[in-house]
Structure formats: C-alpha cells, structure tokens
Symmetry: C3
Subunit: 159 residues, 3 copies
C-alpha cells in the first residue's frame, strides 16, 4: 500500500495547495492551445482569486520570498489552465518546459531563486514527470505590474 | 452563398491590409524553420517597406496607439514569412502561439493592450484558427530600437 | 576525398573549439527535455570551466566583442547539454530555434550583432542543419549577472 498520493491533484492537496479555477485571458487570446501531444500554456500571472498577490519588481517593492510565492502561484494558475483544457491533470505525461519572466531592477541577479518557486512545485506535484527544461530572465515590467510571469509547455497523452 | 472571404489573404485584403514581401533576416539565421507540422517564425520587427514604423519605448517615445500599430505590423511580417515559406497561407491550420516583446520603460504596464494589435489581427485574418496561446513581456530594448517584436509558432498541414 | 570534417564535433575541433562537459543546472530543473523528435535545451549562460566569462550588461561593463564571445560560449554549452543527453551530436537533424536574451542598457541596440556569436557558430558547426529560427531581445538582468543567455530547440533523429 503506497502512501504516495497517486494523482497530481492529490499531491497538490497534500501540500495544502488548491489548483484554482482557470482565469480568463487578459485579452484576445487563448489560455492553452494543443497541437499534437504538446499543450502550450499562455503566460500566467500570480493572480489569486482574481487579484495579483504582489505588484512591482524584485529588488524594489517585491522581496525574494514574495517573488518565490508569486512564481509558485503562477504555476498553480498554469495547472488551472491545463485542468480546464483537459478536464483533469491525469493526461499530463510531463512538464516539458517552463519560461520564467521576472520583473526586476537591473541589479537583482537572484532570478533563478525566484523561479524555483515554480520549478520546485512542478517537481512536488508531478514527481519526475515534473522536471522540466527552463529559461529564466529578468524583464523591466510585466502586464499589470506583476512581478512574475510563467509560461509552460506540457506533453500530454495521445488522442 | 457566403459573404465571408474564404482565404486568410482575402480576409487581410478585406481589412485593407497587405501581407508584405518577406524581409531578410538581420543576421545569420532563417526567418522560418519547419519541423514536423510546426513552423517556427523568427521574431519580426515592425518594418514597413524596409523601415521601422516607430523607434523607441512604450511610455517614452512611443504611445499606445503607435505600439498597437507596430504589433499589428509585426504580425503582418510574420505572415509574410509564412507565405514565403509555404507559398500561401492556405496550409496554415492554426496559430499556436505568439510571443510578444514590448520595449517599455519600467512604469509602462499596458503591455497586453499593445500586444492586442497582433492578437486581434490574428483572429481577424484566421478566425478561430487564429486564436492562440500568448506570452507578453516588457523588455528594455529590442534590435534596431524597435518598440515591438513578435515571434510565432504555427501548425501547418501535413506533408 | 572530402576535406570537410564530417561530424559536428570534428567541425568544432577544426575551429579550435571544445564542446564542454555539461554544466549542472543552477536549480531544480533539467538541462534538456525530449518530447518526440524535439529536444528543448534550458537557457545556458556563458560559463567556462564553471566561471562566467563576463558579468554585467552590454552598453555598460560588457563590450560588443565580449558579448559575442559570451553568446558563442552559451551555444557551446548548449551543445555540451545536447551531447550529454544524446551521447553525441550525431543524432542532431537540425537546430530549429535559438532564443537569445542579451542583458543590456536601454540605449544598446546592437543586440542582433551580439547574438550572431551564437548563430554564426551554429552554422559553422552544423552547416545548413545549423541554420535556425531566432528571437533576440534585450533584458535588464540575467541570472548571476550574466551578459547573455541562449536557449535552444533541436530536431533529433527518431527513436
């Protein structure tokens, strides 16, 4: 009898996390598009119940811990979009790639630590299937003055 | 008898838009690469007849309307590259993803509105097949001091 | 009898270049992920023997030639990751896409010239198979204050 929760949803729940309802896009685009076995997820902001968890830039109004929490929330919102697209997370074969955009002042170089908020959560929820390729970069500003934006690419089960 | 123009080219023409001749890359790379049913399009700048429509940053030298027009022109240039690669736009199955890079000062947060210039045009030209995943971020500077750069991924008909 | 070296490794060697051992990721993610015939490579920094070749921004502490050398080193590190994933570079069918992130002050617009350090090397090592789609953008800051980060997508031989 395994004590390891079997589904990604159960693992998230075991961490005390709630995968949110999918937020509507801010503009004229789709939250996800599937092509073949790939599911592209639009850049997600750290919205919680429709409100940004933090605003501003790392190295200025937003500290490291808040940035990491924002990155984790972005990834939860990614999962909300995946669940809305597929009905559940059961068909996720793996997280292929995350792109992390961190709003930061030019002197803030701990960008990788911020993005770990998303990457660590991916591994916690999906196990080995959650380990992904990643690019993390600083940006001067994000939509709505969000501190973090995370885009994602998933491999999903065949039709 | 449908009054809806049937081809993307006809829809663009009906909007008074011209899909331009493909511009040569600024350096040692290709404007498009196909792998399987995916066509990757290199980041396009808002060139029109070989000249940038605007230079500088949103929130500084470039206002919102000019930024939106620049984003639309970037998408037209994307289509010019797709047409050059495929011979026409008839084999486009859908726009999968757009990446929007907006040169902006750190206080300019209306990045999504700028990128809508590209996204709205994609929907107008391709209908439902034009609705795409998208990531939009601010950047401090783009090649040649362009205000907007748009990269794209298309799903195209099988060989 | 051809005088053209046949393998990418031999071409690199002919250029006096060494494809390095793969560096460990800076955090909780993987250097590469394969899905189907696509190999996604995480953003690579210009590390050489574990040390950044340069730190800081183009237009400030880093000049054009140093930026180009850094971009070339990023691409060599990309190849180190590909070789570690596949055992050799023999199964590379082509370089599909490079993403270039250049840490730059807002007045530095020669971003494409910097990224050519990576693109020119791809063509030199892989020939026509090295010509790729590309997006190049400026960013205010990169992890560890690196001046350049290059991510990559390869098409590889079937299983």
């Amino acid at each position: 009898m395994s004590r390891e929760p079997r589904t990604p949803e159960a693992r998230a729940s075991g961490l005390g996390l709630v995968i949110p309802e999918a937020a509507a896009p801010l503009a004229n685009y789709l939250p996800t598009v599937r092509t073949g076995n790939l599911l592209f997820v639009s850049g997600q902001l750290p919205l919680r119940d429709g409100v940004l968890m933090a605003r501003g830039k790392l190295g200025e109004a937003v500290d490291l811990a808040s940035g990491q929490a924002a990155a984790a929330q972005c990834f939860l919102n990614v999962l909300g979009q995946v669940r809305a697209a597929l009905g559940s997370l059961a068909d996720v074969r793996r997280v292929v790639r995350l792109g992390g955009f961190i709003a930061a002042v030019p002197s803030f170089t701990d960008l990788a630590l911020v993005m770990n908020g998303a990457s660590d959560l991916a591994a916690a929820i999906f196990g080995d299937a959650g380990r992904h390729a990643r690019s993390t970069v600083g940006v001067p500003v994000l939509p709505a003055d969000a501190p973090v934006e995370v885009e994602a690419l998933f491999e999903i089960g065949a039709d």
